[in-house]
């Protein structure tokens, strides 16, 4: 067991619907250090989302170990996982990230309240987050009225409300057009720069390229696990780009 923030050994997930058993994830070993940004890529059906869900305790693992902050968590009950998630895991999904019956402000405050903050503390944190995201004047709006990009940003704010040890995101830009995707990407980068550990599932190379490390999943197993190369920067900026394809 290393000193990494998150560590898995031989993690596997098998779905059984008799008589068929489907192995979505087959023996994955990964490590995520504090403040590290890891991107998980892979073709659809490779088990990325399932792996992410297991890391956040949304789905129980069939086999293997998961260690979070030095503590073994793969055998925790649903309730214990839920309590763990409050303080240590923030989750951003691809769709349906926000509670439809609450305003934006309530959505962002809820995790803080859940973790035991007072309403005042929760409100202060919410104002802080929404302000940073440029969504302060949407605080009283219902989620259904926001655009996709706005919803994802609010979702990010919600996920970061409790300053979790680990942020997990499943295709956070998957649903967005390039402008909105860029905005969200910038946000993610800023969050990373602040020292947030993040694991993102994405097929968007732009997002993956900003990570510290990229994991490539194929057929339920890790096919590649390498840091993103820091190639010599193009000295002449755009002209080098032209030259690259010249």
């Amino acid at each position: 067991m290393s000193t990494a923030l998150l560590c898995t050994r031989g993690l596997a997930k098998v779905y059984r619907s008799d008589p068929v058993a489907v192995e979505a994830v087959r023996g994955v070993d990964i490590e995520v250090g504090t403040g590290e940004f890891v991107a998980i890529m892979g073709p659809s059906g490779s088990g990325k989302s399932t792996l992410l869900h297991m890391l956040g305790g949304l789905e129980p693992a069939t086999r293997g170990e998961i260690w979070l902050r030095g503590r073994r968590v793969d055998q925790l009950s649903t309730a214990a996982w839920a309590i763990l998630r409050r303080r240590h895991v923030g989750f951003v999904f691809q769709f349906f990230n926000l509670l439809s019956n609450m305003t934006v402000a309530d959505n962002v405050e809820l995790p803080a309240l859940l973790a035991g903050a007072t309403p005042r503390q929760a409100r202060r944190r919410r104002e802080e987050l929404l302000g940073e995201l440029g969504l302060a004047d949407q605080a009283g709006t219902a989620p259904a009225r926001l655009s996709g990009g706005e919803q994802q940003r609010v979702a990010l704010a919600r996920a970061l409300a409790n300053e979790p040890s680990l942020l997990l995101a499943d295709e956070p830009t998957g649903n967005l057009d390039s402008t909105n995707a860029r905005d969200v990407l910038r946000l993610l980068q800023r969050t990373h720069e602040r020292g947030q550990a993040m694991v993102l599932v994405t097929h968007d190379a732009r997002v993956a390229s900003r990570a510290d490390r990229v994991l490539h999943l194929f057929d339920g197993m890790v096919a590649d696990d390498a840091p993103v190369l820091r190639l010599p920067r193009p000295v002449n900026g755009v002209r080098d780009v032209v030259e690259l394809h010249g």
């Binding site: 073709p43 993956a208 390229s209 990229v214 096919a223 993103v228 190369l229 190639l231 900026g237």
Partner: protein, 164 residues
Amino acid sequence: MRLHLLALLAKEPAHGYELKLALEQTFGEAYPSPNIGQIYVTLKRLEQDGLVRSEDVEQTTRPNKRVYELTPAGRETLRAWVDEPSDGPRIRDEFFTKLVLAPLAGLADRMELINSQRRHYLGIMRNLTGLTPSSTPAGLLIEGAILHLQADLDWLERCQEELV
């Protein structure tokens, strides 16, 4: 064509006509039908560069055929070519060539090739996304490059699915 011939010879020595057949078989329609004359010319140049050597083999009923084989220098050139990452769509063909031929040559594992290429693309992508365009045309150019890269990466995944 030089590298194609080198790669084919890495597997086993062959004479010109065999090489022509092998090229056709390996790449099918993706490669324009090779002209035997061009092949001989290229082989001669390769020999002049010291990358291949030839040997006459006596045949009983036909004229002698010249069999070519790879020299150590040739093998070295080939290795260097395989190991070096390739760039851009124009060079996709090159990567594709590598992907198809290298395993035959016993030079590399397909999965490793793909992984290596992907890492390279991601590195380029990192640089591209780090650029701040000074004007709209420049921004568009960068965006175009990014989209191409994304497409290349997606294509890499497809290759992985089909060939590995």
